[in-house]
Symmetry: C2
Subunit: 670 residues, 2 copies
C-alpha cells in the first residue's frame, strides 16, 4: 500500500479516538448533576482538582522550559528533539486535563444516576473512564504520528516520548503524594481522633481526599499509561527502523496502534450494563462481567487483526508471536494480582486472620504477601522477554510491550472507572442520599477496587517491558555492543540504579507522611478554631486542605525529580555509557520488584480490612478491624504513591539515558 494511504489511516484512527472521546463526553455532560447539595460538593472537588492541576502545570512549565533549553543546546538534531519533547509534554498534559475534567463532572452524575438506575450509573462511570482512555490513545497516536511523518529522524521520535515522561513524573508521583497525604491525614483525624465516618462533610480534609482520587488515580494513572503507550510505540519504531528498514519499521507500530483504537472502541461499545435486582454481591459480579466483556471482545479482535496485519505487511509471523507474549504476560499478571489482592482468596484471608493477633503481625504478614506476590509477575516478564526476543529479537521485546498496551483505550476505561465510582460513593455519602443509592454506588466502588488492582499490575508490567525496550534502544543509540558484568563500572551502575529505587520510594513515602502530618495539623486547627464545625452548624475550610496537600506534593517532588534526571547523567559522564546500562537494569529490577510488592501488599491490606468490615472475624469495631485499619493505612502510600511512582522511575531513567546517550558516547572516549 502507498505510504500516504497508511499515513491517512493512522491519522484517521487518532482522530476517531478523539471524536469518540468527544461523543462520550457530550453524552456524560447531558446527564443531570443532581441536587444543590451534590452540585456544591462536586464543584468543590472539581475546583480543588483543577487548582491542583493548574499549580502542577505551572511548576511543570518551568521544568519543561529548562529541559527544552538543555535539549535545544546539546541534543542533535537541534532543536528538533527539543520541539518534539515540548509536543510530548503538551499532548500528555492535555490528555490528563481532558480525562480529569470529565472525571470530575462524572462523579456527581454517576451518583445522581444511581438514584434511578444502577445500570445507568455504571454506564456513566465507565464512559468517563473511557474518555481518559481515548484522550490518551488519540493524542498519543496523533502526536507521535505527526512528529514521525514530519521528521524522519528516530531521535526526534524519542524526544516526544521523553516529553510524556516529564508529565507522568509530575502527575503520577506528585498526584500520588497529594492523594495519600489527604487520605491518610483525613483518616487520622476524622476516623480516629474525632470518630466521624469516612467522607463525612464535617471533615475539612474530605474534599482534598476526593480531589486526590481524581488527581492521583485518574490523571496519574492516565499519564503513567500515556507514557508507557508512547514509549512502547516509539521504541518499537526506532528498533523497527533498525530491524525492518525505514518504512515498515516506522509504520508497523503505528498501524498496530491504529487497529488498537478501533478494537478498543468496539470493546467499549460492547459494555452494555442492564439493571438487575438490588443485591450487592450480584451487582458487583454483574458489573465485573459487563466490563470484562469489553476486554475480551477487544482482545480477541486485536489478536485476529494483528495476525492479518503482520502477515500481510511483514510476511513473517515472528513479531505476531512477540506481540502475543506481551499480551498474555499482561493478562496473566492481572490474574496473579487478583489472586494476591482479592478478598475471596487465601492471601488476603490470611492477612485478615493475622489481624486477630494485632497490627504488627498484620504488617508482617502483608509484607510477606507482597514480597511473595512478586514471584509470578517477574517470571512472566522474564518468560515474555525471552520469548519475544526469540521470536523477534530486540524489536520483539518492544513489540511485546506494545502488545500489552495496544488495547489501552479499553483497559484505561476500566482502570479510571474505579476512582470515579469511588468518588460517586463519597458524594452519595456526603449528600446524604438514601441507603439504596449508596449501596449501588458502593457496589460500583467495590468492582473499582478490583479493576484498580488489575490496572496497577498492568501498569507495572507494561512499564517493565517498555523499559526493557528502551534499554535495547539505548544500546542502539549509544552504540553499545557490550556492557559486561565483568566490568566494575557496570556493576557500580547496577548498584546505583538499585539505590535510586530506594531513594525514590523513601522520598515518596516521606512526602506522604510529612503531607499527612501537615493535613492533620490543619484539620485539628479547624476543629479547634471553627465554632460549630462538629455540630454541622459551621462549614469547614476545604480549600486550605487542598492547598496544603498541593504545596507539599510539589515540594516533595523536587528532589526525586532532580535525582532521576541527574544521577544517570552524572554516571554517564563519570563512569561512562556502559555503567548507565547497568543503572537501567538495576533500577528496573529493584523498581519492578518493589512496585509489585508495594502495590500488592497495599491492595491486600485494603481488602483484608474490607473483608473484616463485611462482618468476618468480628467485623467493624473489633480489635482485628483496628489492626486491619492500620495495615490499610500503611498500604495507602505503598500502593498509591511509592509503588506507582516507581513505574515512572524505571521508564524515566531509560529515557534520560536514551536522549543523552549519544552525548556520553561523544564525550567519553573509553
Amino acid at each position: 500500500m502507498e505510504s500516504w494511504i497508511l499515513k491517512i489511516l493512522i491519522l484517521a484512527a487518532g482522530l476517531l479516538a478523539l471524536g469518540f472521546m468527544g461523543y462520550l463526553s457530550a453524552s456524560i455532560l447531558r446527564e443531570g448533576a443532581g441536587n444543590e447539595k451534590m452540585k456544591e460538593i462536586y464543584l468543590a472537588i472539581r475546583q480543588g482538582a483543577m487548582a491542583f492541576l493548574r499549580r502542577e502545570f505551572t511548576t511543570l512549565a518551568i521544568f519543561t522550559v529548562v529541559i527544552f533549553i538543555v535539549l535545544a543546546i546539546f541534543i542533535e538534531p537541534q532543536p528538533l528533539v527539543a520541539v518534539a519533547y515540548l509536543a510530548g509534554t503538551i499532548t500528555s498534559a492535555l490528555a490528563g486535563w481532558l480525562g480529569m475534567n470529565i472525571a470530575t463532572q462524572a462523579n456527581t452524575r454517576t451518583a445522581n444516576a444511581a438514584i434511578s438506575s444502577w445500570a445507568k450509573a455504571l454506564k456513566i462511570a465507565f464512559s468517563s473512564g473511557a474518555v481518559m482512555g481515548f484522550s490518551v490513545v488519540g493524542l498519543g497516536l496523533l502526536g507521535l504520528a505527526i512528529i514521525a511523518f514530519i521528521w524522519n529522524d528516530t531521535h526526534v521520535w524519542l524526544g516526544f516520548a521523553f516529553g510524556a515522561s516529564s508529565v507522568a513524573l509530575f502527575l503520577r508521583a506528585g498526584g500520588g503524594i497529594f492523594t495519600k497525604s489527604a487520605d491518610v491525614g483525613a483518616d487520622l483525624v476524622g476516623k480516629i481522633e474525632q470518630g466521624i465516618p469516612e467522607d463525612d462533610p464535617r471533615n475539612p480534609a474530605v474534599i482534598a481526599d476526593n480531589v486526590g482520587d481524581n488527581v492521583g488515580d485518574v490523571a496519574g494513572m492516565g499519564s503513567d499509561l500515556y507514557e508507557s503507550y508512547v514509549s512502547a510505540i516509539a521504541a518499537s519504531m526506532v528498533l523497527g527502523v533498525i530491524a525492518l528498514g525505514t518504512v515498515q519499521g516506522m509504520f508497523l507500530p503505528l498501524l498496530l496502534a491504529a487497529i488498537g483504537i478501533v478494537v478498543s472502541i468496539i470493546g467499549v461499545l460492547s459494555v452494555r450494563p442492564r439493571d438487575i435486582e438490588a443485591n450487592f454481591e450480584k451487582q458487583v459480579a454483574r458489573a465485573h462481567a459487563t466490563m470484562n466483556t469489553g476486554v475480551y471482545v477487544s482482545n480477541i479482535l486485536m489478536i485476529i487483526a494483528s495476525f492479518f496485519l503482520i502477515r500481510s505487511y511483514i510476511g513473517d509471523l515472528g513479531l505476531f508471536w512477540a506481540l502475543i507474549s506481551g499480551l498474555l504476560c499482561g493478562f496473566l499478571i492481572g490474574l496473579a494480582t487478583e489472586y494476591f489482592t482479592s478478598a475471596e482468596r487465601g492471601p488476603v484471608k490470611k492477612i485478615a486472620k493475622a489481624a486477630e493477633s494485632g497490627a504488627a503481625v498484620t504488617i508482617i504478614e502483608g509484607m510477606a504477601t507482597g514480597m511473595m506476590s512478586t514471584v509470578i509477575p517477574i517470571i512472566l516478564v522474564v518468560v515474555a522477554t525471552i520469548l519475544a526476543y526469540i521470536f523477534g529479537g530486540l524489536l520483539g521485546i518492544a513489540i511485546a510491550a506494545t502488545g500489552m498496551l495496544i488495547n489501552l483505550g479499553m483497559l484505561l476505561a476500566m482502570d479510571c472507572y474505579g476512582p470515579i465510582a469511588d468518588n460517586s460513593a463519597g458524594i452519595a455519602e456526603m449528600a446524604g442520599l438514601g441507603p439504596e443509592v449508596r449501596q449501588r454506588c458502593e457496589a460500583l466502588d467495590a468492582v473499582g477496587n478490583t479493576t484498580a488492582a488489575l490496572g496497577k499490575g498492568f501498569a507495572i508490567a507494561s512499564a517493565a517491558l517498555a523499559s526493557l525496550a528502551w534499554l535495547a534502544t539505548y544500546f542502539a543509540v549509544a552504540n553499545i555492543s557490550v556492557a559486561s558484568l565483568t566490568n566494575v563500572d557496570v556493576i557500580a551502575g547496577v548498584m546505583i540504579g538499585g539505590m535510586l529505587t530506594f531513594i525514590f520510594s523513601a522520598l515518596a513515602m516521606r512526602g506522604v507522611s510529612d503531607g499527612a502530618f501537615a493535613i492533620v495539623n490543619e484539620v485539628r486547627r479547624q476543629f479547634r478554631e471553627i465554632k460549630g464545625l462538629m455540630t454541622g452548624e459551621a462549614k469547614p475550610d476545604y480549600v486550605s486542605c487542598v492547598d496544603i496537600a498541593t504545596k507539599r506534593a510539589l515540594k516533595s517532588m523536587l528532589l526525586p525529580g532532580i535525582l532521576v534526571l541527574v544521577v544517570p547523567l552524572a554516571l554517564g559522564f563519570t563512569l561512562g555509557p556502559e555503567s548507565v546500562a547497568g543503572l537501567l537494569i538495576g533500577a528496573l529490577v529493584t523498581g519492578f520488584l518493589m512496585a509489585v510488592m508495594m502495590a500488592n501488599a497495599g491492595g491486600a491490606w485494603d481488602n483484608a480490612k474490607k473483608y473484616i468490615e463485611a462482618g468476618n472475624l468480628g467485623g467493624k469495631g473489633s480489635d482485628a478491624h483496628k489492626a486491619a485499619v492500620i495495615g490499610d493505612t500503611v498500604g495507602d502510600p505503598f500502593k498509591d504513591t511509592a509503588g506507582p511512582s516507581l513505574n515512572i522511575l524505571i521508564k524515566l531513567v531509560g529515557k534520560v539515558a536514551v536522549i543523552f546517550g549519544p552525548v556520553f558516547v561523544m564525550l567519553i572516549p573509553l
Copy 2:
C-alpha cells in the same frame, strides 16, 4: 622466606587463636553462676539452646550428606571438593557450638558478677563474645590453611568455603526464625494480652525468647561472619593465585589473616573496664569507650602491620590500598548505621515523633528511614569496589573484603557481647535481683544494642564485598570473559536473582509470623490449662515452647534452603553460565539494599521505642509508646530474621555458582 616457615607461622596463629579462646573460656567458667534461682534459669536457657543446636545439626547432617554425595560425584577434583566441603561444615558448626556453649554459661555469670562489680560483668560478657570471635577466626584460618597446604587446588579451597555457607544458612536463617518467633510470640501474649512485663518467668515463652538470643544472635551472627571471613580469604587466595602466582597468591591472604589474629588478641586484651559510679548514662558511655579502645588499637596495628607485610612480601602497595578501602568502607558504614539507628539522632527521633500520630505513620516513617539509610552504604560499597579494583584489579576487590574482616576476632567479640548482656539483663529480671544490679545489666544491654546495630551493618557490608569477590571468582572458574547486559539471558538472570531476594525475605518473615502464631497458641493454652500459673504457684512448661519454635524454624528453612541451591543450578543449566552471573548481581543488589533497609528500619524502630520509654513524648504506656511497640514488633523479623538471612543468600548463591560453574561450562557449549 621459605614456604615452610610461612606455613608454620600461619598454623601457629590459628592455634594461638584457639589457645586464647581456651584461656578466655576457662577464666569465664571460673566465675560463679549465681544463686539457685539463677542457675535454674540459666540451665533452662542452656538446655533449650543446646536442644535447638542438636536438632539443627541433625537436619544439617542430612543436608550435608546429600550435598557431599552430589559434590563427590559431579565436582572435580573428586572427591576432594566434597571432603573440603565437609571440613568447612564441621569447623563452622564447631565454631558455632563452642561460641554458644560459652555464651549460655556467661549470661548468668555476667548477671552474678553485676551484683558486686559492673566492670567485672562487662569483662565477662565481652570475654565470652571474644570466645565466639576467636573460635571463628582460629578454626577458619586453621581449616582453610590445612586444606590449602595439603591440596594445592583452588577448587578444593572454594569447597571449604561452601561448607561454611551451609552451616550459616541453617544457623542464621533458622536461628533468626526461631528467635523472632519466640520473641514476637512471647510479647504478643505476655505483654499485650496478660499485661505481664518482658522476661517475666510466668510467661511460658520467656525461656524460648532467651534461647533465641543465643541461637539467633550469637551462633547465627558467628556462623554468618565465619562464612564471610572464610569466603573473603578463599576468594583472595584463588584470585591471588591468578594475579600473583601460586606461592604469593596463596600465602598473602593467609598471612594477613594470621596478623589479624595477633592484632585482635592485642585489641581484646586492651579492653580493660574499670568500675565507675552507678549512673546509667555514664556506664553506657564508659562501656562503649572501653570496647572502642580495643577496636581502635587493633585497627591501627593492623594497618601498620599489613603495610609492612604487603610492602615486603609483594613489593607493590596497590593491595595495601585495596585493603584500606575495605577497612574504611566497613568503618564508615558502621558510622552511617549508627546515625540512622541511634536514639540520639534525627531519624529515630522523627520516628518517635511519628508515633504520636499512631502506628501506621510509625511504620511508614520507619520504612522511609530504612530505605533512605541504604544510600550511604551502597555508595560506600561502590566507591570501595571501584578503588579496590583500580588499586588491585579483581584481587583488589577480594582483598578489600578481607580487609573488612581481618580484625574479626575483635569485632565479633563486640557483636556477640550484645546478646550476652541482653540475656544477663533477662536473668537479672527473672531471678529478681535488686534494681541496682538490673540497672547495671541494662546499661550493658543498652551498649549491646548499638554494637549489635554496628555488627549488622558490618555483616551486610562484608557480605556484599565478599559476594563481589566471589562473582570475580566465578568469572575465573567458569571462564567467562563477558556477561553482557545486551544478552537477554543475562537480564533474565538479574531479574531471577532479584526475585530470590524477595522470596527469601517473604519466607523468612512468614516463618516468623507462623512461628509466633504457634507460640501464641501454646502460651494461651498453658495459661488456660495450667492452674496457678498467673499467681506464680505453678511453673510453666518452657520446653514445649522451645520445641515448637525449633520445629517451626527448621520447617520454614526448607524451601528457602532448597531454592538458594536449586535456582542458580536450574538457571545455569537452562540459560547458561552468563545468566548465572546476572543472577549473582541481581541477588546482590536487591539483597544488599533490602538487608540494609530491614536492619536499619528494625534498629530505628527498636530505639524509637526505647527513646519513648526513656520518658520522652509521654513515656511508657502513652499512645505514642503503643504505636512504637507495634513498630518495634514489625522491626523484629526485619532486623533479626529476614535482613540477616539475606547476607547468607547473597553469599550462598555465589558459592553455588562457583562450585558448579565448571559443570555449566562443560555442559552448555553456547
